[in-house]
Amino acid sequence: MNELRQLARVRDEQLAGQASGAGARALLAAIVVEDPGTEDAGSRAPRSRRTRRLVVGLVATAALAIVAVMGPTLLERDATSYANAAIDIELRGDEYVARIKDPFADHALYAEAFQAMSLDIGMELIPASPTQVGNIVRMGFAGTTMADTLGGGLEPEGCTIGHEGCFLTVTVSKGFKGRGVFYLARPAKPGERYQASGEAGRKGEMLEGYDADGRTVGKVAAEAHRRGLRVVFQIIEPHPDGHGFSLSRDQSAKVGDHWYVWAAEPEQVGTVRLLVTEKHLRNNPVTGK
């Protein structure tokens, strides 16, 4: 092996097995919920469509190496409903509808309910900024057939969690054979960092109606403080060779009021994160525009 090869961070052989890992499976699941082959390449990030309410049919393939093991406890039963303190599930027509009564419950309670219906479904609720609540952030599946579908969202659609009669729901087709995993966005608790968020300037978010892009840190921070918000920074560092950027969350770094803000993102309840550079840049490094 020559020295240039040794400069490689990793060799492909060292990545054996990654294709069946959780990261690869989650990415695949996220990509194929898109409508394929209808866009010009590069015209849009997958995020824009993925965050809406969705229902999708599933196909098992060689790419999904995990095989759901249906143990003796998962034998067919005729259960049509189940409820515990966290969730209730009932069979409505040709699908199970699970309503989450407590989005902060131990995940084991959700699993218990699905298991009682002979469904191998994992569900994790992740803290999200207000406009993201109710979205399926990610989903994964394995060992499924064409007849299997998973879906979900808010019920009734567009309602606000915390209001009476508004629930996060997921749906699973009757007779679902494989294994499914949902990551559903729930409201965040104070102090909990968002794992899914919409832009801070968007309607319903902390800096609603305010466009921070290209303004100075001093101006954006003043607006944030006026709204009673705390500000943290993520520093965008242009690479020394002039190509590309890296991001740092080092909060001890001194960010001056004259620095520039390129995006504002919800960090946690009451805190926005500003993506900043020291020098002004011709194009916004976040959006490329």
Binding site: N2, E3, L4, R5, Q6, L7, A8, R9, V10, D12, L15, Q18, A19, S20, G21, A22, G23, A24, A26, L27, L28, I31, V32, E34, D35, P36, G37, T38, D40, A41, G42, A45, P46, R50, T51, R52, R53, L54, V55, V56, G57, L58, V59, A62, A63, L64, R138, M146, T149, G151, H239, H243, G244, F245, S246, L247, L281, P285, V286, G288
Partner: protein, 186 residues
């Protein structure tokens, strides 16, 4: 519950083909991105964007033997766009980030000389660097390089020759004896 119009598409054969292709090429594309991105986040973005683009072009997937090269070509453009500041924010998953953070925790042991080689390598123009990388890291031959770079084999030969010369010069400037580095492998 509302069913989106694209639900009917999931039974399409295209999805099966894409998933089979993904299983075969995920690791080399992950490797390609990791070798060129300084951070796990950047690599995750590059992998996600490369496969998202491939999905949108699923109707023109090349034959199996060529998909890896085809994806290298897409990944190369994705990274070139990132370098030009067109960072596309991918909705990356926690799992992918976690996988990559683990992988990045490994870093090859550096020696002083490797550091000097790395420095000389970094000083090259990105086109030269990419060409030499595709040879040394992805192990591509002239014909494969021609496919990835969408040019003739002859053009590859000439560009490679020039890139090697410039690399040798950069190494000499950095005080690394040129004959220690076997860039020529094809």
């Amino acid at each position: 519950m509302r069913r989106p119009p694209w639900e009917s598409l999931v039974g399409d054969d295209r999805r099966r083909r894409f998933e089979a292709m993904y299983a075969q090429t995920y690791e080399p594309i992950l490797g390609y991105a990791m070798r060129r991105c300084a951070s796990p986040e950047d690599a995750a973005d590059a992998v996600a964007e490369t496969f998202a683009i491939a999905w949108r072009r699923v109707d023109v997937l090349p034959p199996d033997a060529e998909t890896r090269l085809w994806l290298y070509g897409i990944a190369r453009n994705v990274l070139a766009n990132h370098r030009r500041g067109r960072v596309r924010r991918q909705s990356r998953s926690v799992e992918l980030d976690a996988d990559l953070a683990d992988l990045y925790a490994y870093s090859p042991e550096g020696s002083v000389e490797l550091g000097a080689i790395a420095q000389a390598f970094k000083e090259l123009h990105e086109d030269d660097r990419e060409l030499l990388s595709l040879v040394a890291w992805e192990g591509l031959d002239h014909a494969q390089l021609a496919k990835v770079l969408d040019c003739s084999r002859n053009a590859v030969r000439i560009r490679l020759h020039r890139a090697r010369k410039r690399f040798a010069k950069a190494l000499a400037r950095a005080g690394v004896s040129v004959n220690r580095v076997t860039v020529e492998s094809i």
